[in-house]
Symmetry: C2
Subunit: 326 residues, 2 copies
């Protein structure tokens, strides 16, 4: 499964609920990663591990439960910048472990395995793999009248966490993506799987970067597995996050149909064998089927893992039934 952070983690929990015995490999987005205060932070991987391992803050959906904020208080007292990215003490421990291992020459995949040894200890068969061990960074080019060019590029986290996705978006760039290589096991996971799932994560800054790592889109195009996507846009707006601010910048309509068409049908040079939209978007089913994309409308709210498991199973049944025989 290809997945981003908060929504992706909830989705994975539902998938695990649907098939408790299945081997599940999560290919996680790393283009949101950022270095702050000298700490290497991988928000999507951490949210995934914390969620699966029971360490997530259940109210926020990100960060640690029973978190303390002593270091943030001290940073304020020292005037340490930046202040817009809140880091809890327990979360910082993860970043310290990661940063030191990376500094000692371990790859992000190896480091993620060390962290997963703790968080996924009770979930045999579940793996979380970084999409790449190479440095990739999503930059958002925003309108800024105070600059000579009228625009400037900022890190995705700065756009989202600091500026709350308010600036006008001109362009989205994944720095380093052309030279990124898929992380160890990523291509094999896609090639050897029975079912490839695209989580209802952000198509622009979560699923987008994963698909843009050279080799991953090709592996999805040729895998014998069925490829099933889930819309994160319900009734015209995202359940989580800021996809509605970013989709226009890549020329995609903010709708379940727009995103479905963006991924496209595998039979027509796209990547999907099936597409699930919410019942609120049932009207688009015929439209998408007309362009070759087998689409099913089903309630897609992930309010608890069992509801998520239900639509995951429904989607799997649907794509298996609708897939052309090999």
């Amino acid at each position: 499964m290809l997945a981003g952070g908060v929504g992706g983690s909830r989705f994975v929990r539902g998938v695990r609920q649907a098939w408790p015995e299945a081997s599940i490999t999560v290919i996680a987005n790393t283009a949101d990663d950022i270095t702050l205060h000298g700490l290497r932070i991988c928000p999507d991987i951490d949210t995934m591990l914390y969620t699966l391992g029971g360490g997530i803050d259940p109210e926020k959906g990100w960060g640690r439960r029973e978190e303390t904020w002593s270091i943030a208080e001290e940073f304020t007292a020292y005037g340490a910048e930046p202040r817009w990215f809140g880091l809890g003490d327990r979360d910082i421990a993860t970043h310290l472990v990661r940063t030191q291992l990376l500094d000692n020459g371990y790859s992000l995949s190896e480091v993620t395995q060390v962290l997963a040894d703790r968080w996924l200890a009770e979930l045999p068969g579940v793996r979380v793999l970084p999409m790449t061990d190479d440095r990739v960074e999503t930059q958002v080019v925003i309108t800024d009248p105070d600059t000579p060019a009228g625009q400037r590029a900022i890190h995705f986290q700065e756009y989202w966490v600091r500026h709350h996705a308010e600036p006008e978006v001109r362009q989205i760039v994944q720095l380093g993506i052309e030279d990124a290589r898929p992380g160890p096991g990523v291509i094999e996971a896609i090639t050897d799987s029975e079912l490839v799932l695209l989580a209802p994560s952000n198509p622009v800054v979560s699923i987008g970067p994963i698909l843009a790592v050279p080799g991953i889109r090709g592996a999805i195009g040729t895998t014998e597995a069925a490829v099933l996507g889930f819309s994160g846009i319900l009734g015209g707006s995202p359940i989580l996050g800021m996809a509605h601010k970013l989709l226009p910048a890549i020329g995609v309509e903010v709708s379940a149909a727009g995103v479905g068409a963006h991924y496209g049908a595998r039979s027509r040079t796209g990547i999907l064998d099936g597409w699930l939209v919410d019942t609120a978007d049932a009207a688009t089913v015929d439209e998408l089927r007309a362009v070759g994309l087998p689409t099913l409308a089903h309630p897609l709210l992930m309010t608890d893992p069992e509801l998520t498991a239900q639509f995951v199973r429904a989607g799997a049944d649907f794509v298996t039934r609708n897939r052309p025989a090999a």
Copy 2:
């Protein structure tokens, strides 16, 4: 003043109490510094800043008051090594600020100034300078029958914090000391001062490394200021720390007289113009005077800043009276 950590900090607080208007420059030992979990830790500088700035844990005498331990819990859950050096969350914030600034190319002196901007904000005239910006590290060579050579060298912190000063000490080495240069302002502080004080800190691993930085001992030998030392050995044992375990390794008797003779009288190639011993050691006064070291017996317990201020003033009066006219 030349000073180490816990005892040195209490001493400095007393000196400040004795002369609230004085300019006070603390030259702090950095040979205890250590890197753990990727964090650069300067125990003596931090204890000094926390103590002077009111942030110290008053019961332990080191570490932060109102400390939390979330990261230590997380390190344990991750199995992160080493576990023998306890780091509180607030303390880690200091190390994060320091480590990032050092990684960005700032010197330890510059970084210490940044930290001091917070901790010494209400103490105009008080400065804390690292003895050197170069890397110096105290290693303790201990007996270890499990090694081929029967001995091995460990970092001072490992000897003290992990092994509680229990192993037999063969030798004490300051790695890097020959090439260390005095930190900016250190020589000038000694040369331009009216009074140079040696805190009752550990003569082997606190005052010893400071004096061993090439140039510092020479500056103390030639300054026009009076040089006054205070014994940290009271009645044959140290008030704090493990000096009694280390003095024998450098051939010095564990007594106020032994340490006084080790520093020596400036009139006889040593560094002291005056030496204060506790009243418990009054019997040694004549013995030390006989070898040219003007010595005064006075209660030296630092149980509160006012008592410390009393013996600091008494020592200053004594050394001024007893000093040969220039």
